[in-house]
Symmetry: C7
Subunit: 96 residues, 7 copies
């Protein structure tokens, strides 16, 4: 089963505990209601979005931080995924 | 009887249980008030919408995920349909 | 007596029971506070609306579905009419 | 005494009972808090309004329907007048 | 002491009772919390305002009607003045 | 210590009692919760702000009136300063 | 571990007590719920953001003042960091 995001949408999967520990990122108490670190699963094609050209900056496999309350959540094949606009992604996290 | 959407509107029909099971998508509890997976029935012509050129990316038969609270609901010939803007569609789901 | 809408305004008349039955459209319970299916009586000229070119896609006689809460209602010569922006019209319904 | 509206502003005077009766327009109960039919007294020059070119479509003497809650009300020389933007005018009513 | 408004700002002084009586304008009861007729004291230079070209249409000495709740009020040299955007001015009133 | 504002930001310092008295400006009671007259300390470079060209019209030393609730307040080296957008400045006050 | 901000995002770290004391900036009581002075850790590439060209004006190492409530907070490797848009940064503070 495959999810193909439209426009500037990005599908991300909540990072698991091991990944979070490895990354050294600890979310502050007030933000812990919602996981804000996630791994990118698939990325829309970008292009004209609301009359503006959008180039995609993230790719599948990137670990990202994103805005609280952003996106719509689904549970697919047992995985919790969130579909965001790329603009809701704040930064890419790398562990090297 | 036929429904022809205007501009960037898309008519979708709530996916039935069998389709949902086959797709492997399970909606999270907090989202279950409203079905967010649906099959596209018909698609508007796109073109200039609010002064911006919109190209339609979905077609009749596509299975799609869409934003919570998006769209207007009607019951037509016994089917529940929702009329959305294409921009409220997050992703296309395929089972292959 | 004649009502000439300005710009992208459209005058519609609530569909009567017979028309609704014939069309096969049944509004969902939560939407029944307001009729959302109506027949177009007259159509504005379109043109520049808020600095954007608008072409009219509906014509007098069309049966249309429109957004809940859209428009202003009047009672004229005994008929209930609603004046909408064309952008509040979601789809054209045809029974052939 | 003369009121010269700026930009796309339009000065209208509430239609009196006789004019309303003649026109055949009866406002629905929920709309009766505010008169929504009025006669145009004077019209601004149009031109660039918020960076967009506006052409005036109504003229002094027109009988118009306008949006509920639109405009600012004044009492001048004993007459109740409302100053609207042209965009709040929905339609021109004629009795021929 | 001199107040030089920036951009499309306009400084107005509340009209006194004599001027109001002479003009024949009586504000409706619900609008009486705030004087809405005033004399223009000084006018900004216009020009590019939020990326849009604005030409000033009012001049010092004009008697104007303006939108309720518009502007910021100050008391200067014993006079109550309000600083408005030109766009909050609805019409120029003349008594000839 | 130096504060260099970005873009169209302006740093102002609340006018002291002597300056206010000299200027003849008395704030109305309802506005007295927040000082709205201030002296400009430093001015950003202007340029492209949200995609629009902004030219700075105020300079260090100007005495200005500004919108209620505008800006962010800080206490620096014992002085209360407010950082505003230039667009929140209504007028320049001069005492000559 | 490295955080690479996207677009016009900026990662800042709350200034510690020593840095605040040295800078002479004291936040007003009502603003003390949230630290508003911070050191820039890393800066996005700028470029097209919401269809507008953004050039980055701050660099790693800058001490900045930023708007209350702006940004999303994370705790990374024991440091509290905030990710802001550059537009939420009001001014650069220097101690020379």
């Amino acid at each position: 089963m495959k999810i193909t995001p439209l426009f500037d949408r990005v599908v991300v999967e909540a990072a698991d505990v091991e990944e979070k520990t490895k990354s050294g990122i600890v979310l502050l108490a007030k933000d812990q209601e919602k996981p804000q670190m996630a791994k990118v699963l698939s990325v829309g094609p970008g292009g004209m979005v609301d009359g503006k050209e959008v180039k995609m900056q993230v790719k599948a496999g990137d670990m990202v931080l994103y805005s609280k309350y952003a996106g719509s959540e689904f549970k697919i094949d047992g995985k919790e995924v969130t579909i965001l606009r790329q603009n809701d992604i704040l930064a890419i996290v790398s562990t090297k």
